[in-house]
């Protein structure tokens, strides 16, 4: 019997081609471009991303979350086929899927923080201790970002598992629209408002939680657990006939 962790690696390997492409274009490239080149795509983006404090990070977070959404949504069907041919149980499939999303989230969080920390002050020479535990709160911010992405992953897993159970094409069409709204906003030039909205939510949450990042992380992880349980109940009922027809 292959364990869940190995199957999670199988899932990542199975979707490797476009995962790597998505990872490069939605996680690494924008981050490098934003932090190192200080590049503005248009005035609207520039205001939101560079003028507002923390805008760059939020922009990168939004892209990372979007990448996770795409990964969850488009890899789900392929992974169900994979589960079918190798007789993997729903329980194991679900656990492996979440582990694969967790690995991706951790990779994204680490990538972002490393790029941000290194490129933000290219002339500064770090010791490893400073890099990890120094003023830059590397560990804290990785944990924060990781918990945010785990929450996003579990939400998308819930969304995709509900989507997989819906047969009505009209309801499906309505369900597809909301996740693509940010994309519409990007092309309509109103992406700055998306970033500002996320920033307001975060500031509001931080104020409510007296600025305690650990409380925030805990809250995210509790929400993620609720989403996981909810989506698990959908995956449990999942039959190949539901996905196929």
């Amino acid at each position: 019997m292959r364990n869940s962790f190995k199957i999670a690696i199988d899932i990542l390997y199975l979707n490797r081609a476009w995962t790597l492409i998505g990872y490069f274009f939605l996680v690494i490239s924008p981050m490098v471009a934003l932090v190192y080149l200080d590049m503005g795509v248009s005035n609207a983006y520039r205001d939101a991303v560079f003028v507002v404090e923390g805008g760059k990070e939020y922009f990168a977070e939004v892209l990372s979350i979007w990448f996770l959404l795409l990964f969850t949504f488009f890899s789900f069907g392929t992974n169900i086929d994979f589960m079918r041919v190798f007789n993997v149980t729903r329980k194991k499939f679900f656990a492996s899927y979440m582990i694969s999303l967790g690995i991706l989230s951790l990779l994204i969080a680490l990538t972002q923080k490393i790029i941000n920390t290194v490129f933000a002050s290219p002339n500064f020479v770090y010791s490893m201790y400073e890099f990890i535990y120094g003023d830059y709160f590397f560990v804290t911010s990785v944990v924060w970002l990781f918990s945010l992405l785990v929450l996003a992953s579990s939400l998308f897993c819930l969304y995709t598992s509900i989507f997989s159970g819906v047969k009505d094409p009209i309801v499906r069409l309505f369900m597809v629209v909301p996740p693509f709204l940010p994309l519409v906003l990007i092309f309509s030039g109103d992406f700055s408002s998306v970033i500002l909205f996320i920033m307001q939510v975060r500031t509001f949450s931080e104020n409510r939680l007296a600025g305690n990042p650990y409380l925030m992380v805990s809250l995210f992880l509790i929400s993620a657990t609720i989403c996981l349980f909810a989506s698990h109940s959908f995956v449990k009922k999942l039959s190949i006939d539901i996905w196929q027809h």
């Binding site: 019997m1 292959r2 041919v85 007789n87 149980t89 329980k91 009922k237 039959s239």
Partner: protein
């Protein structure tokens, strides 16, 4: 021992479509079973439930006393090759991946079978013709050395030469390493020489579950002049009436031992064995 017990299985799709209706079945281990029935009879649904692919509305399937529902240990004993099983890799890579999921998978044997059936292992498993894909899936199944093999239409689209070779390979594999093999197919005539046990399913219900010999001994065919045949059939159960001109052929649903040779001889009726395909067709007629 891996006795498969299907207990009170009912599967209802949506609110009304009853695919399986209170199915009870015991499948003896280390035998080759044929699962026969018409389209939509519930064969694939039953195989899907037996492998936890879909969940039953009611009932349970156990293998060796343990449920198959979400049971990794039991499911690792089964390999179910579906008609639309697709592997997203090149063939040689599929063999390698199979050995990760099925530790007993014999890569050398798989390669030798691929060579025998002229399957190019550097080819993408998704880009094969229907016949090649069927052979490839059968190779994967045979080389897996799983204790239970479920084969859904294993020779779909395969040419007659390769079909013959494949049946021989299944028998050879089975005689060297006995295992439970369940073959679901419509090609009853061909599979009749391979299977030992037969399960016939009709409208979601099991109507027969016995050895092929017992099933064939439970009926016989008679043919002769229509009036003579009708006279012979008085107070007898029969099915599958074929009339050509004045001649009539009927399958009598009665033990071969109970056939009335004297009466048949008096009426100039010929008595013969019934073919499995004919019998299945007549039993599953609506």
């Amino acid at each position: 021992m891996n006795i498969i017990k299907i207990k009170d299985i009912t599967k209802i799709y949506g609110k009304k479509t009853k695919a399986l209706d209170n199915v009870n079945l015991t499948i003896e281990p280390n035998k080759i079973h044929g699962l026969l029935g018409r389209n939509g009879a519930g064969k694939t649904t039953l195989l899907n439930i037996m492998t936890n692919k879909i969940l039953p509305t009611n009932g349970d399937v156990t293998i060796g006393g343990e449920t198959v529902i979400e049971n990794d240990k039991v499911l690792s004993k089964i390999l179910y090759i579906m008609v639309d099983s697709t592997f997203p890799w090149k063939i040689h890579k599929v063999f390698r991946r199979m050995s990760e999921f099925y530790p007993e998978f014999d890569i050398e044997y798989a390669n030798s079978l691929a060579e025998k059936f002229e399957i190019n292992i550097s080819k993408d498993s998704k880009g094969m013709s229907t016949g090649e894909a069927s052979i490839f899936r059968a190779i994967v199944a045979l080389a897996s050395n799983a204790e239970i093999l479920l084969l859904d239409e294993p020779v779909l689209g395969v040419d007659p030469n390769h079909r013959e070779m494949l049946y021989k390979e299944i028998i050879k594999n089975y005689s060297e390493k006995p295992k439970t093999i369940i073959i679901s197919t419509h090609l009853i005539k061909e599979v009749a020489t391979v299977i030992e046990e037969v399960t016939i399913i009709k409208n979601g219900e099991i109507i027969r579950n016995q050895s092929v010999d017992t099933l064939l001994a439970s009926a016989y065919a008679i043919s002769g002049r229509a009036e003579d045949v009708d006279e012979y059939l008085t107070n007898r159960k029969y099915t599958s009436i074929e009339v050509i001109g004045e001649s009539k052929t009927v399958i009598v649903l009665e033990d071969v031992k109970d056939k009335d040779v004297k009466l048949a001889s008096k009426l100039s009726i010929q008595i013969g064995d019934v073919e499995l395909q004919k019998l299945c067709m007549s039993l599953t007629e609506n």
